[in-house]
């Protein structure tokens, strides 16, 4: 598995040193024999929200803890705004962190919790009071200063934790699963609020999350992590529409993936023979590969068309291109859309989603019905690894 996902360094080192606010170079962390973070190089720009996305044990939290200074790297360097952080203890770094458990001090009031960071700087009492009041207003917790953490609801605690981490006006804020402890409704609401606050204060955010939806809505760029390495870096759209590896394609969203062999290579398109799929896939040429090479084609469920009639181009005799026949096995009605599980003639099951555009369609496709699946030539992504 490990060898199948080599370290893809998508971001070339930026020419302008100012654009890389945080520069992580060849960062490695070993716990005994376990490589938690394995030779990660990464640049984070000033003012962006960078989401580190990965499953448990992918090394994302260890990477965050190294940025905060709670773990020392086994190798490699971290530079924040040009300054090497290797010898800087956590209490002297220009970084603040919001913890997954929020880590509010249970024996202090909300006000005292938020003031704690400012007190360490030895600011005057009046100034502290002013700044605490200001930040509590920003997170809409103005009237709760005298409460103790256990007197707050989960959403309120999350706001206080955010205020406490922001009150020192750090240039870089680390957020460890900031929304994981909230219920779904509150999470959506808080997500947008978090974006709003980030833009208002102009702080650079590094967010660690295992929730791809959270990463997609929050992040200006994502870094997908797997086995301690960065599998891909890019904007949410890049990662979703042009995954670099099979792992990324499979990890973000759902995907139909088929192994095949390149049968013909044009200047801007590829033809791939997929025995598993039972048709030839015509795809845009986005990767360099030669005839006969083994590749994988990945097609997102929402980019597949479902119809009773054969699509026009596939009606001709000869092997069909970008179209297969199948039988609908399951339909899951989700309200806004429906998921169809279609067993194609080769035996594999494909996942197709269609938005329910019309109310009460006249003759909806039913289970066990025989259908054609087709897709546009720009839909399949060709992956070589």
């Amino acid at each position: 598995m490990k060898s199948a996902i080599p370290n893809v360094n998508v971001m070339p080192p930026a020419a302008d040193p100012d654009s890389a606010y945080v520069r992580i170079a060849n960062l490695t962390k070993r716990f005994g024999d376990f490589m938690a973070v394995d030779d990660v190089s990464l640049d984070i720009r000033r003012g962006e929200i960078f989401c580190l996305l990965g499953g448990s044990g992918s090394g994302k939290t260890t990477l965050l803890r190294m940025l905060a200074g709670f773990e020392l790297p086994s190798a490699g360097t971290i530079r924040i705004d040009g300054a090497d952080m290797s010898a800087i203890p956590p209490y002297e770094r220009p970084v603040n962190m919001m913890f997954q458990s929020y880590a509010l001090f249970p024996h202090m009031s909300v006000e005292k919790n938020v003031a704690f960071g400012l007190e360490q700087e030895g600011r005057g009492r009046e100034q502290i009071r002013h700044q605490v009041g200001e930040i509590l207003d920003i997170v809409k917790m103005g009237g709760f200063g005298a409460r103790k953490p256990h007197q707050l609801s989960g959403g309120q605690r999350q706001r206080v934790a955010l205020a406490r981490a922001l009150v020192k006006r750090p240039k870089l804020l680390l957020l460890d699963e900031p929304l994981a402890a909230l219920d779904k409704k509150l999470r959506e609401h808080t997500q947008f609020e978090l974006l709003n606050i980030q833009q208002r204060l102009g702080v650079t955010f590094i967010v660690v999350t295992h929730d791809q939806e959270e990463a997609m809505t929050l992040g200006t760029r994502l870094g997908v992590m797997n086995h301690g390495r960065i599998a891909q870096i890019g904007t949410p759209a890049d990662i979703y529409e042009s995954p670099a590896t099979r792992f990324v394609a499979d990890f973000i969203g759902s995907v139909n993936m088929f192994e095949g062999r390149v049968s013909d290579e044009g200047s801007d398109c590829l033809r791939i023979d997929c025995t598993e799929l039972g048709c030839t896939v015509r795809a845009e040429r986005t990767v360099s590969c030669t005839r006969g090479a083994i590749v994988w084609t990945a097609i997102r469920p929402e980019k597949i068309n479902i119809s009773r009639q054969p699509p026009t181009a596939a009606g001709q005799p000869g092997p069909a291109e970008n179209a297969v026949r199948g039988t609908v096995r399951e339909i899951a009605y989700m309200g806004d859309m429906s998921i169809y599980l279609v067993q194609i003639d080769s035996g594999r099951v494909m996942r197709v989603t269609l938005p329910n555009v019309m109310r009460g369609a006249e003759r909806p496709i039913a289970r066990q019905e025989s259908v054609w699946l087709s897709w546009h030539g720009s839909s399949p992504v060709v992956l070589t690894e």
Partner: protein, 282 residues
Amino acid sequence: MRARGLFTRTALVLGLAFLYLPILSMIVFSFNNSRLVTVWDTAHSPTLKWYVALMSNEQILRAAWLSIRIALIAASAAVVLGTLAGMALTRLGAFRGRMLLAGMTTAPIVMPEVITGLSLLLLFVAMQQLIGWPKGVGAVTITLAHITFCMAYVTVVVQSRLSGFDEALEEAAMDLGARPLRVFLRITLPLILPAIASGWLLAFTLSWDDLVITQFVAGPGSSTLPMVIFSKVRFGVTPDVNALATIMVLIVATGIAVSTAWMRYRQQRRVRDLQLAAAANL
């Protein structure tokens, strides 16, 4: 159903009687006028004369004062050492000899007191010969011995509190710019203070009524209160011992009542706060 209710109630009454009848009879007889402990003098009882006699008993007052001083010092020193040991055992992770240290700090709890006492006496004698300190046995050696076994109890209490401690709290404080010492003083210490306080109370009571170990390491002129009571009882129980014991029971009972009431108050307040927070969430 009724039979079972009757059974449990009887069991409760019998159990309480078993535990408290001896103490109750002791308290009653402390107000007895007669010199003979087992004979109730109906004509002149109850009386406070044994309590008055107690207040003028030089020997008992001196012993009580010594016991209090030793218990105060021993409990305080045991709390410092026990907290440090508890922190080391929970925080240092897996270091060489961790299991050994854990076993050794708690060994005095299960060790027979006679052995602890004897070994401490031998140690003190050897130390005196080698480095000339402590000079003879007395209040100093009693205090040292009490610190030794009290520390084990404090360690256990503090350790159990620390094992449930969210270390993210300390990291958060550090992240906000607090140096390690400040983190300890402002975050860790306040949060483990209840454990430290109960460890201190436990150590104080253990030191206050220890007899066996104390006997080994005590010298002439350094009799603690339990030693005085024990030696008096050997020549027959006198009613002033009853009075003394009654006072001790009263002190302990008051302490327990106050701490229970305080904990109940805190618990109730906490429950109310949680309900309020839950209501605010709706």
